[in-house]
């Protein structure tokens, strides 16, 4: 661990508590509210911020718009937009920019009213258009759920993975969600029918949305947002909360290739880069914050990050291994309740950083005692076709 560089740390976090703003707040308002609370958490002020990171979903001038809206004149503006993985990319870029001395305090923000807008993210058509690839397959009606389901189908075919094994991911996540009052409130506000801990039988008995993925293997569609403040080492030492260091990061793209393997994601590239920079191994990780758009997303990424070999994920996640109260048994998964059971406003990558920081501060509702190392892995776009992967390794003092 001696070679690790500790040049940037998460010092402030905030997750917007409500998942249903009933149309009364805009995404920009949610971003500003979260930014203010995260800066308070850090013991910093708006005027301390000199770098902003935003996924640019506000449009082509997003970098300017967000600076003006907040009332900032930042020295660094980064609007890398790669869907749900944007925030892992932003954390990686903030670490790079702070280490280079281009800025001292970086602000990452996210806000969305996907629920209030009644966006049919999962079962709507393909988003976008305009890219030639979309012009080839929009006729076929591949919903987003079906896109991920095709990864699961092939994983089952190649490796004998079962729906019961995939369900373990939903069960562990819900187990954590039930311990998180904000997640329970989210499920109430979004009118989940049955708000309780679930079993494998519950998951595989729920309605099929796109074979082989069942309803309880699909994330919710909520409102929400969050903010993360990242500071250079000299600033971080004087902040209100203990620093959560960014130890390593990796980025990657994945897209369909003739003859390619759909069961291996871009995480197989971003993971080794991040672990290598951090100088740690997957078996040292206490907390795995993995983008759980669907059960199969987590299974695939756990394998690709090297927690187990490709194809062994089904057996590896079985028996409740991913629960927070199984120390020594591998990492705890998505201890906030994840996108499956707490918060999914469309791009949940920022919540992966936030809950990882909570765990390394000792503030989680499902706290792993003595947690030292966490991985946050965002997947943006669509796992079964074109997607981006951002991996960040985090550690405490």
């Amino acid at each position: 661990m001696a070679s690790q560089t500790r040049d940037a740390a998460i010092v402030g976090i905030h997750e917007f508590p409500s998942r249903d703003v009933e149309g009364a707040l805009s995404p920009l308002q949610i971003k500003a509210e979260c930014a203010a609370r995260a800066l308070e958490d850090a013991g910093l002020e708006l005027r301390d911020v000199d770098a902003i990171y935003d996924a640019g979903e506000g449009g082509g001038m997003a970098g300017l718009n967000i600076a003006e809206y907040f009332g900032l004149k930042p020295k660094v503006i980064d609007t890398t937009g790669v869907g749900g993985s944007s925030y892992e990319f932003h954390a990686a870029h903030a670490k790079r920019d702070l280490a280079a001395g281009r800025a001292r305090v970086a602000l990452l923000t996210y806000g969305s009213t996907a629920h209030s807008n009644a966006q049919a993210i999962g079962v709507g058509g393909r988003g976008g258009g305009g890219h030639p690839a979309d012009n080839m397959d929009s006729f076929a009606g591949m919903t987003l759920v079906a896109n991920y389901a095709m990864v699961a189908q092939r994983h089952m075919f190649d490796y004998g993975t079962t729906s019961e094994q995939l369900a373990e991911i939903s069960v562990a996540t819900r187990y954590h969600a039930m311990r998180n009052p904000e997640a329970v409130k989210a499920m109430e506000d979004l009118e989940f029918l049955d708000i309780r801990e679930t079993t494998v039988a519950d998951v595989v008995g729920s309605r099929m949305i796109a074979d082989p993925l069942h309803l309880l293997e699909c994330c919710m569609i909520s409102d929400g947002g969050g903010a993360v403040v990242i500071a250079s080492a000299d600033v971080a030492r004087d902040c209100a909360k203990p620093p959560v260091w960014l130890l390593g990061a990796g980025e990657a793209t994945g897209y369909p290739e003739n003859g390619g393997d759909i069961t291996t994601s871009a995480a197989a590239q971003s993971g080794p880069t991040a672990f290598g920079e951090a100088g740690v191994r997957p078996d040292e990780i206490d907390i795995a914050m993995i983008y759980d758009s669907f059960s199969i997303t987590v299974l695939t990424i756990l394998e690709d990050l090297g927690f187990c070999a490709k194809g062994e994920g089904g057996a590896w996640v079985s028996g409740g291994r991913l629960r927070f109260d199984r120390p020594g048994d591998g990492p705890a998964l998505n201890t906030d309740g994840g996108g499956l059971s707490s918060n999914h406003p469309g791009m949940r990558g920022i919540f992966l950083l936030i809950e990882a920081a909570r765990q390394l501060r000792g503030e989680s509702c499902s706290q792993v005692e003595g947690a030292q190392l966490a991985v946050a892995h965002g997947n943006g776009g669509m796992l079964g076709s074109r997607h981006c992967a951002g991996t960040v390794i985090l550690g405490r003092d």
């Binding site: 079962v123 080839m136 095709m150 993925l213 003739n258 759909i262």
Partner: protein, 136 residues
């Protein structure tokens, strides 16, 4: 109200328009680099293997294998909601291209399998045909 219709490709897209124009004659085409042999699909103006521009159009025999699939049971799109449940699949053509389509001509979409041999079945529209697949 008219029955909802299948969303169709944009024939003005400059990368893919030659592919779609060929479907009017029920020809399933793809590109191959004359310099390095790379099969390029979806169509582009350059080779994704060597970045050259010496691409030749080839015609597929329209036969292939289901690489993976899903059965869509819920969609908010009016046309696809009326079609559900239906099978969407990645098809590996024998010549190399992998493409997305629907597997049709099966009594129950649940009978679709990975590895199933399929052949193209054209669905006719005014300005083009859509390549669907059925058991071979």
């Amino acid at each position: 109200m008219a029955d909802p219709t299948r969303p169709l490709p944009n024939l003005r897209d400059l990368d893919t328009q030659a592919f779609w124009q060929a479907t009017k004659d029920k020809r399933l085409t793809y590109q191959q680099c004359a310099d390095c042999g790379t099969v390029v699909f979806y169509p582009r103006r350059h080779c994704t293997g060597c970045f050259g521009s010496n691409l030749a159009w080839k015609e597929s025999a329209g036969k292939g294998t289901v690489y993976t699939y899903s059965i869509v049971r819920q969609s908010y799109h009016p046309f696809f909601r009326s079609m559900a449940p239906y099978a969407v699949a990645w098809i590996d053509l024998d010549e190399g291209p992998r493409l997305v389509s629907n597997v049709v001509g099966v009594e129950d979409p649940a009978s679709v399998r990975i590895g199933m041999r399929v052949k193209v079945r054209w669905e006719e529209h005014e300005a083009l045909c859509v390549p669907l697949f059925e058991p071979a």
